[in-house]
Every structure is written in structure tokens, then in C-alpha cells.
Symmetry: D2
Amino acid sequence: MDHECNLTVRSYECDSYGHVNNAIYLNYLEFARHSYLHDNGISVGELRASGHGLLVARIDIQYRRPAYTDDRLVIRTRAVRKMRIGGVLEQTVLRGEEVVATAQVTWVCVDGRGRPARLPPAFEREGFNP
Amino acid sequence: MDHECNLTVRSYECDSYGHVNNAIYLNYLEFARHSYLHDNGISVGELRASGHGLLVARIDIQYRRPAYTDDRLVIRTRAVRKMRIGGVLEQTVLRGEEVVATAQVTWVCVDGRGRPARLPPAFEREGFNP
Amino acid sequence: MDHECNLTVRSYECDSYGHVNNAIYLNYLEFARHSYLHDNGISVGELRASGHGLLVARIDIQYRRPAYTDDRLVIRTRAVRKMRIGGVLEQTVLRGEEVVATAQVTWVCVDGRGRPARLPPAFEREGFNP
Amino acid sequence: MDHECNLTVRSYECDSYGHVNNAIYLNYLEFARHSYLHDNGISVGELRASGHGLLVARIDIQYRRPAYTDDRLVIRTRAVRKMRIGGVLEQTVLRGEEVVATAQVTWVCVDGRGRPARLPPAFEREGFNP
């Protein structure tokens, strides 16, 4: 099952075209991943306290339709690949049935020195597997 | 020849890891494209006044190394593909010799109603061709 | 009665101290004013279509306590002064009973040329009066 | 003598009015204070390593004129008050001779637990005194 979270576009997130600015979508995706981790039992704060960090290595995002102030968006997140030190997520931004944007996000787990590290056991949960 | 522009990382662009936040790189790339257009004789303002807009359709960005407050970065932009209604740019964020991030950015020209439109003659300049 | 709206702090809104960055509070206040207007029957979009704009002339904000990722905040907005061309709002950011920040925001109505303009009749509603 | 620093408005800093968004000015002021500290011999990084932090307690900003993409701005910073645990700065955003915004910024020094702390000796420099 895909993870879903909701948000409403805020006025200050729109640029001079009146559209949500391209960079803001990366904020939305980060917000959704934070929620996805939380709802699968992982607190980023605790992870950091245990000496692990999660870094994004790559984002490939396609912008399909503009979004506007007050639009209610749903962000769907699902694992499409899992490796020993990270994985790939597919994230979709929807407005009702319409696809606003889609992204593939590659993430890796790092240790306190920023080197790739094996995923902690908490990532064995079903929600993290394709 | 590649287009280059410079910027210095500002403190408020860094997140709780002390790194430049992922979304901020998209701001940097937009800043560099704006400068690239300007230095090739295109004003986004005039383009809009003439009923054209430039939209980003896709960004595929790879984060290679973190960047920090006060880092001096160079952003290199070059055309790698050109079509009748848009093109693909390669943008590289450098700190000295180190590659901080690389991105492929697909852009399209649209008319006043947001439909794909043929590029205006101003885009015939050499800087816009691979 | 004061207007209230809710939001949850997002990870990307925090800076390298792990606190919500000072500038982000102004985003929160704008978001709350947008909601306050909407809930009092005013759409910023329609207002603009009718040739009016609302500008902020002054913000005096006091930061009392830091806020952190995932904090649930309430923003309370109430009119403390009303003039023919604008007014003053008091906005309070709360986390439970704790005051996180307080602000006085002076706003003015402008016409299409950016000159101060008399408030449209829609602003006669009770919610806009102290 | 006042401290000065320069910046050029970037496209993504403008909102749907085409103006620099109100919150962005606080980013500009932070950028200017960072530069002001640096040019007076203080590195925020070293300060933190020594167990001190600088927090903003209050910002009172007046917006006088809109600023637009590509505007070249100067930000002037000067100390108007100094206390044992902090001070007040006056910051002015200028475009040529025009005043775009003015702000009074109250800041305090804190220790590792976030409690007000006496300023370290580095703040005895002339640039920090009114």
C-alpha cells in the first residue's frame, strides 16, 4: 500500500507566474518522506541520535501541471527499490485525479562521518520494501 | 563555451544538518538559468511581455557532495539538446574542482495559454545550441 | 473572537540550529492572514481581479521561544486597529499554552497602481474590526 | 562607519505580485548580519564551537517600496545600542538612493543551553558599538 499525505498550497509558495515554484516541490517531497518514515515507525531525530543520517542522492522530477494557491494536494510515496544502504522511492503529487508531478528519489543511509552505512533494522518493515 | 555564474552559500540556505538543503539547489539552478538567458540576450520579463513563457518540464539532479555556509560555488550551464519547442540543459554546481551537484534540466516554451510554442527567433543564438 | 489556524512545522523550515528560521515565521503569519481573510469572506484572488491589493507596510515580531520540527502550532489573528485604507493585526504563534512569537502587522489596501486606496465594502465585516 | 553589503534580487525570491516577498527580506537581513559579523572578525561557526549562539529576539521592519528581480540592493548595518548580553542593529535596504526597507533588529547572545550570556570579548570591537 502506498503512503499518502495531504497538504494545501500556501500563497507564499507561488512565484511570479502564480504557480508553485519548482523548488517548492522538493520541499513537499521532503515533507512527505518525513511523514512516510514517521508513519513507518522511524523518527529522523532518533535516527540521528543513533549516529545515522538519511541523504538524498538523486531526484528526478517531472512537472506535469501547475499547482496554485489553496490547491489541496495529495503526495503518494512508495518504495520501488531497496538496497543494503538505501533505496528508491516513487513520489507522486496529485490534485484529485490529476497528476501534478512525479519523482523518483534515490536515498542512502550514512554514518556519522557521512559514509554510506548499512540500513538499521528498523528499515526491515514492510512499508520500506517494494 | 559553457556559461558560468558565481554565488556564495548563505547561512539561511542550510538545514539542520548544516548542509545546503536539497530544494535550495533548484533555486541555484534557476538563478543560473536566468543569468544564462540574460547573458545570451534574453530577458524573461520581455519574453513574458511578448506572450511567451519558459517552463521547466523535468529536472534530474544528482547530489554528489554537501555544500556549506560561505562556500563559493560556480554554476556551469550548457545546452545539450535543442528542439523546436524547448531544450535540455546540463547544469553543474562546482566548488573549485569538486563537483557538488549535476543536473539535466528539460525546458519548454509556452504561449499565453500555457501550450507548447515554437521558440522565438532570439533562441537561435549560439549559446542556446549544443 | 480571534481567528485561529493550525500548522505543523516541517523539517525543511528548520535551520542549522534545528529551530524554525526567523524568516519562516513571516511565511506562517502570511499563511494565517490568508486564512483569516478567507474565513471572513475575502478571496485575495478576487480582490486582485477587482483591482485591489493588500500590502504589508510593517511587521514588528518578537521571538519568544524556539519551535522545532513536528511542533503543532496555532496562529491567532485579531484586528487591533482599523483605518480607512488599512489596519493593524496582532498575530500570536502558540504551541499549546506557550507563546512562541507575537507580531503586530500593519497592512494597507492599494489600487492597481500601488497607491493607498479606500477599503472595499467587504472589509466592513465584524472580523476586520477591533 | 556603517557596514555595507550588496546583493542582487533573484527571480525565485519574488512572489505572485512580482515583488520580493516580505519574508525574503528577513533572509537578506540575516545575510547582511552574517557579513557584518564576519567583516568585524566574528565567525558564527567558531562562536558556536565556543558554546555561544546569537539569537534574534525582535525584528521591526518597515516596507517602503517594492523590489523586483535583478534589482541591485545595498544593505547597510549599524549598531544603535549595545548591552552586556546583546544589542540593537539598524538595517537599511537601499536601491541606489531609494530606501526599500528599514529594520531594527534586537539580538542576544546565548550559552549552550539557550540562556542569555555575557558577550564574548570579540564583541568589544568598534564595529559593534554605537
